[in-house]
Amino acid sequence: MNNRLEFDLDLLRRCDRPGPRYTSYPSAPQFSTRFTDADFRRQVARSNQEPIPRDLSLYVHVPFCFSPCFYCGCNRIITRDVSRGAPYAERLVREAEMVAPLFDRDRDVVQLHFGGGTPNFLNAPALADLVDSLGRFFHFSNARTRDFSIELDPRSVRDGDIAAYAAMGFNRASFGVQDFDRAVQLAINREQSIEETLSAIDACRTSGFRSVNVDLIYGLPRQTLAGFLHTLNTIVLARPDRVAVYGYAHMPQKFKAQRQIDDRELPDAAERLGLLQVAIERLTAAGYCYIGLDHFALPGDDLSVALAAGSLQRNFMGYTTHAESDLIGLGASSISHIGDSYSQNFRDLPPWESAVDQGRLPIARGLLLDEDDVIRAQVIQQLMCRGLIDRAQIETRFTIDFDLYFAESLARLLPLAAEGLVTFDGSRIIATSRGRLMLRIIAMCFDRYLATPSVSETQPRHSRAL
């Protein structure tokens, strides 16, 4: 796919609007409480019975954080009480013990991801026990290509932790940085030094981690071009394999912590785009490839290789190289994707705990995809991962007439084509270098659920696309 990005401020301003991130289609607001654990079990049984059952991905959510970052929209619990970790980890093990036997033993776990919250809220020995238990219930792949990753808060990383994670089998780490600018750090309640961050990245290298990711955020309060550029320069020198640059989504009605942010300190739309532009320019100048949405990677990284080969995938954990696997989410609020279904655990700790304690699967809601959902999910996946839609391929795979089936979507796409975001090339619809930054906007044309917003909707459910 074309890796060049074109940055047209006016165009971005005209086209930017709230939209889903498409880590799933249909997106999470469509999940319903009508989906039960019986549905989940049925989907797992079906998935075991495919001619070649899919490999497994495990997502483990650790919701605790020592202090609240004000920008955060994740499901997390702020506490300094480290003793809360042990009972949570015990219940994770019990959940795994319930879920794992539903899957046939010949289905390897090729991807394991610890996310949060702050996974390293659990100390290294507790994490080691947890990974060990998961490895007893599931069959971990021994292949070199397996991805065992962990999100780390550099502020809580102690000496020897990183080496311990490597010994547990982790080979990828992801560090939250956001911005090194001190004024910004104070405004978002996240004081994190350059030194502790870089030394954690270094420790990953010496411990044999295959890849390090750094998360940055643009659009934060008090953020300036000069300050952000300085952060980018520091990061580029540390040369992590992957960099994600997320846009801050200010939705204080929805995320309580964000009410601590003074919205008068937020950059305006033009400043936001300026910050994004400086990030893109700095990273691409330093040799990073644009993977899609908010992600960049060094040319030798697995993501860049997969992008070039057209084999890139996307799931709830973001971009991945693993062929579509079935995803099992463990822990409060985690999402599973089994066969043609999504399901989500209880978001809050008490109902999740009591379900696990009673030996029930802690599933709160979910969705069974219908044929139309499956077709549209595939179209959006192509767009997000390859920057194009291969109409011929969709037609063969689903036995539809693309132009007829998607007449409505194509009509919605026309204004974007007029803006030069997409071009029609034979049987392909291609996101142009101008459109590459607007993949979410293009994907929204194919989202059946956006066409009919619910009447009760009084506030945006989704963040702005940029």
Partner: protein, 247 residues
């Protein structure tokens, strides 16, 4: 919005009072001898459309009195027996146009169970009547004998000492031919049976079936996406199946 997968879905064209269903297992032999549907009615031959049976519904069970054979109109039927320890042995899979109950002809009772693997519609022929008709329609009798011998042949094929890959290839080629015989694509089709059932039928372990499919896929002979099979190298696949299918 168009209808997804309309082209690949093996749904039979229903007949009416005058026309046979497009998948009818017997229409060709009857018509060839001047017996159209009206004439069959005159002979009081009971041809009843039954169903739908849903996934997991039994059509008949071992030991039930044998009254009728039935042609599958839509869906897939699995036949099986259980041994004294309760272990299931899969005998066969029946696709649209294929006939179940033939192995009961020599007996008064069905010697096996038949269960629907998805939504199944049948065309039921009361057996005494069709046997009587067969004496008047030589083609029909021949056709019945052919169906019977095919049924016996299918079971015998897998009894030999064949490799897992040969069994897998023979299974896929057989599915492909049977889909093609009903006018559907020979190279792209959906498997409605579970991995466990395929393994049981081929006398392989469940994991061996997956490894077999993976090997065939890695060698470029076919492509598997969930339950959809695409045969990408029919020549090589047929070659691998030749020892079992013998043609």
């Amino acid at each position: 919005m168009g209808s997804p997968r309309a082209g690949s879905s093996p749904i039979a064209d229903d007949g009416d009072a005058f026309r046979f269903c497009s998948t009818c297992a017997f229409s060709a032999s009857c018509l060839a001898h001047g017996f159209d549907k009206t004439k069959l009615e005159e002979l009081h031959l009971l041809v009843a459309h039954v169903g739908p049976y849903e996934e997991g519904d039994h059509i008949f069970r071992e030991g039930d009195p044998f009254e009728a054979i039935a042609a599958v109109r839509t869906g897939t039927v699995k036949t099986y027996v259980t041994d004294s320890e309760g272990r299931e042995q899969v005998l066969g899979f029946f696709l649209p146009g294929e006939v179940i109950g033939l192995n009961a002809i020599s007996q008064a009772r069905y010697p096996c169970n038949a269960v629907a693997l998805d939504s199944v519609m049948l065309c039921r022929f009361s057996f005494p009547n069709i046997a009587a008709l067969a004496t008047r329609v030589p083609g029909l009798q021949q056709h019945l004998f052919r169906l019977l011998s095919e049924d016996i042949g299918k079971a015998a094929l897998l009894a030999g000492n064949f490799t897992a890959d040969e069994r897998m290839a023979a299974f896929v080629v057989s599915m492909s031919r049977r889909h093609a015989a009903r006018g559907f694509s020979a190279t792209r089709f959906r498997l409605s049976m579970t991995r466990t059932d395929i393994a049981n039928y081929l006398r392989l372990a469940s994991e061996s079936v997956s490894r077999g499919f993976s090997r065939l896929q890695d060698s470029g002979l076919l492509h598997v996406d969930r339950r959809e099979i695409e045969i990408t190298d029919p020549v090589k696949l047929e070659a691998l199946a030749r020892n079992i299918l013998r043609e």
